[in-house]
């Protein structure tokens, strides 16, 4: 019995030893060597590549395969297998062991901090430099969400940009001319366009200011008031930048006008955001902030809907911000375990910097093209409703959310606070925001290396 116990103790120790290796078992020196590309080859060696994308619908995958086919024709001997429906969980698992793809695309720019900071995706700077490509070809926002602390491990591959959708019929019936441009106009429109049932419940909501419902998030609403997330040292500024308190006060006032409970009940009765019962498509919302992809959804699911698109309305005190908005997007990179880095770089470069590929993807997927030149391309399928978003994307006031080592943790902490606030369970807004700043900074310090925060 004692021997068995000893054998088990030995097994435990062995397990401890393996665990102590840190779980990844990767060789750091090899990774560093992989960061330096060889001189640009004249012609690429034949190879079989794998491209992992988050897109999963057959229609979307067909678009990707079409662009990849172009690449294959330009580079004979290189075959690319496109695998769809890849989540970040799968990407992370593949980065730690097993078979990694040659090029990976993620929907979450928020995770660029983890991919770049850990070295899970290789530094692309040496490749860009070698091939004479400047990252100036991307507007500032996508340039920022594809790198972390000076390491550029990703390139933007199509962006999502948020703007205001308005139901043209409803506006006309209410005698309103054109979309609201300021926050007071938005409030006025929202009230005018709201239709109540005889029992007081909400039939149509002019504009739903509830956060964390559909695409309503602090990130999407922030640009309306010019809210800044962090200061130059990377510390959270939700409390110190008065824009956030102003945004939340306006938002809560409008919620109270509807009645919080009534609004919650109204929301619960609506269809899922990504279904054919989407509330804007069903005429349950007159005004709504959403991403550019909605134009494709409406064309497909509610072709008869008479609607228009515009930049989000802005606070009167910051009227120069009008035209901008929030943008984030897909990021793509080369996992450090990729087998054919040179060929992978060629594919990544083609999909993210070649105007033809960019236009093809944008036309097919109806996401905003991410290079400044492709956004102006005459081959971009003309659609004034979609163009609004291309313009927002190019606007100098368009912002994105900061990239951190903890993904979107800071946004989620803020979301949690906003949920309590809008339900009327926060009495001291300023104090609450300052407290959230502290929590965010402490959380980030813990994620970035476990150091204590005073």
């Amino acid at each position: 019995m004692r021997r068995i116990a000893m054998a088990m103790a030995a097994a435990l120790l062995l397990a401890f030893g393996v665990g102590a290796c840190g779980g990844t078992g990767d060789d750091d020196t090899a990774d560093k060597a992989a960061g330096a590309p060889a001189p640009k080859p004249g012609r690429l060696e034949p190879a079989d590549l794998t491209l992992w994308v988050g897109f999963s619908a057959p229609r979307e995958l067909r678009v990707f395969k079409g662009a990849v086919k172009e690449f294959e024709q330009l580079n004979p001997g290189i075959n690319v297998k496109v695998v769809g429906g890849i989540s970040d969980d799968k990407l992370i698992a593949a980065s730690r062991g097993g078979k990694a793809p040659d090029v990976a695309q993620s929907f979450s720019a928020d995770n660029a901090g983890a991919f770049c900071g850990s070295g899970a995706w290789i530094d692309l700077e040496p490749y860009l430099e070698r091939d004479g490509i400047s990252d100036d070809i991307f507007p500032p926002a996508p340039r920022s969400y594809t790198q972390f602390k000076g390491t550029r491990c990703a390139l933007p591959m199509l962006a999502d940009t948020y703007g205001l959708y308005y139901n043209q019929d409803m506006l006309e019936k209410a005698g309103l001319d054109g979309p609201p441009k300021t926050v007071s106009e938005l409030t006025e429109y929202a009230k005018k366009l709201t239709v109540k049932n005889p029992d007081g419940s909400l039939e149509v909501v002019g504009f739903n200011p509830s956060m964390n419902w559909y695409s309503n998030t602090p990130a999407n609403f922030g640009p309306m008031f010019g809210g800044k997330w962090v200061d130059e040292s990377g510390k959270s500024t939700l409390g110190s930048d008065p824009a956030w308190a102003k945004l939340l006060t306006w938002q809560k006032d409008l919620i109270d006008w509807y009645g919080y409970d009534k609004l919650v009940k109204f929301q619960a009765g609506l269809g899922d955001e990504y279904s054919t019962s989407n509330a804007f498509e069903k005429g349950k919302l007159a005004l709504h902030v959403d991403g550019e992809w909605r134009t494709a959804f409406i064309a497909d699911e509610a072709p008869d809907l008479d609607y228009g698109t515009a930049p989000v309305p802005v606070d009167e005190d910051n009227s120069d911000l009008y035209g901008g908005g929030y943008t984030t997007g897909n990021i793509a990179g080369i996992p450090k375990r990729a087998g054919h880095k040179e060929q992978a770089w060629a594919l990544l470069k083609f999909l993210t910097t070649d105007d033809r590929a960019m236009v093809m993807l944008s036309n097919g997927l109806r996401n905003v093209p991410t290079t400044a030149s492709s956004a102006k391309s005459p081959d971009l399928k003309p659609d004034p409703k979609f163009d609004t978003f291309v313009k927002i994307f190019e606007n100098e006031h368009t912002t994105t959310t900061p990239i951190t080592a903890a993904g979107s943790a800071y946004q989620e902490l803020f979301n949690g606070f906003v949920n309590k606030w809008q339900a009327g369970r926060v009495s001291d807004l300023e104090g609450g925001l300052a407290d959230i700043d502290k929590q965010i900074d402490a959380q980030l310090a813990n994620v970035e290396g476990g150091q204590d925060v005073p």
Binding site: A15, I92, A268
Partner: protein, 335 residues
């Protein structure tokens, strides 16, 4: 008598003592190896799926580990953050303890009550047993989706029916005061497994005990209190312990309900950002642990949380089992 080695009764020269010892040792080793060989499936399973993860988790809790790069020793920093800085921990601990305090007793009583009724049924016993057991077979995600639909404050049939009798139903999964009770209803509905165990225990109570109690003039309540409950007390202990551990680990239902009820279930692939909706009321400890480990790239901290959960589960179970000596009676006279 000579002490020199002598021939044994067969007449063959006897084997020297050390050779005999060697042979015995060999035989012993063989026996041990055989035992080990028979135990090896369990040993391998235990080591790979329990001991290794457990030891590894304890180790990782002292490190900074982002899932992507090698872990780095940081001493007690994760524990310091856990106990002094993470403000999400306390709502999560409260929610989880709420479940232990409310759900576990309700679950035991409900399962016991249903089982008791089923032993009394005169007709259709098989049918009723099946009906009450069936919910336990529903996959947790599907069951949760079903409940979120049934309890939808605007379109759900439950509030619809309440409306018919003039009661304005609550917002259920959309109200922080009602979300945990709504989850409790869901978990009580799926109590079939516990119920079946109670049913088996109730049927097992020796009939003669009831008969003699009845002869002594014991009414229904006294028979239940002094015959049934003591007889099935080991099963009550079992369901309390298992129920507690399950409550401490509740994840799937809370994850699904909060994401769907928040109305931002996204097909765009971004991580669910409504865990705990509404207002952290469904942010249970394992949900926060998942969020830290897999969403915030903070696996070292998640490991520290897991260690704390392990210690607390162990402590609660120990207290229950210690305490049970006073009220659990095992058949055969043991206490």
């Amino acid at each position: 008598m000579s002490l020199a080695p002598a021939s044994d009764r067969t007449g063959r020269p006897s084997v020297p003592a050390d050779a005999r010892r060697r042979a015995r040792r060999r035989a012993q080793w063989r026996r041990r190896l055989t035992v080990l060989a028979f135990m090896s499936p369990w040993l391998v399973g235990f080591t790979a799926f329990f001991a290794y993860p457990l030891v590894s988790t304890v180790y990782l809790s002292f490190t900074h580990y982002d899932l992507l790069s090698p872990s780095r020793w940081i001493g007690l920093a994760n524990y310091r953050y856990l106990f002094s800085q993470d403000k999400q921990i306390w709502p999560a601990v409260y929610n989880t303890l709420w479940l232990v305090a409310i759900l576990v007793p309700l679950k035991v009583m409900f399962a016991f009550g249903v089982a008791l009724m089923l032993t009394r049924a005169r007709r259709g016993i098989g049918f009723f047993r099946t009906v009450f057991y069936l919910p336990a077979l529903a996959p947790p995600v599907a069951a949760t989706l079903g409940f979120v639909y049934l309890l939808n404050p605007a379109t759900g049939p439950v509030n619809g029916a309440l409306g018919l009798i003039g009661i304005e139903g609550p917002l259920w999964f959309n109200d922080p005061g009602w979300s945990k009770p709504a989850l409790t209803l869901l978990l009580l509905w799926g109590v079939g497994n516990t119920m079946i165990i109670f049913l088996a225990a109730l049927i097992d109570v020796p009939k003669h005990l009831y008969e003699s109690a009845e002869l002594d003039g014991a009414g229904a309540w006294r028979r239940l209190r002094w015959v049934t409950l003591p007889s099935i007390s080991p099963v009550i202990l079992f369901s309390v312990v298992i129920g507690t551990i399950e409550a401490l680990q509740l994840f799937t239902q809370a994850f699904v309900a909060s994401t769907i009820a928040a109305g931002s279930a996204s097909s765009a692939g971004d991580p669910a950002n409504d865990l705990g909706y509404p207002e952290d009321s469904t942010l249970f400890y394992p949900v926060l642990l998942f969020q830290q480990g897999f969403r915030f790239f903070n696996m070292g901290y998640a490991a520290a949380m897991a260690v704390l959960l392990f210690v607390v589960s162990f402590a609660i179970t120990l207290v229950i089992v210690r305490n049970s000596r006073r009220w659990v009676h095992y058949a055969g006279g043991g206490t």
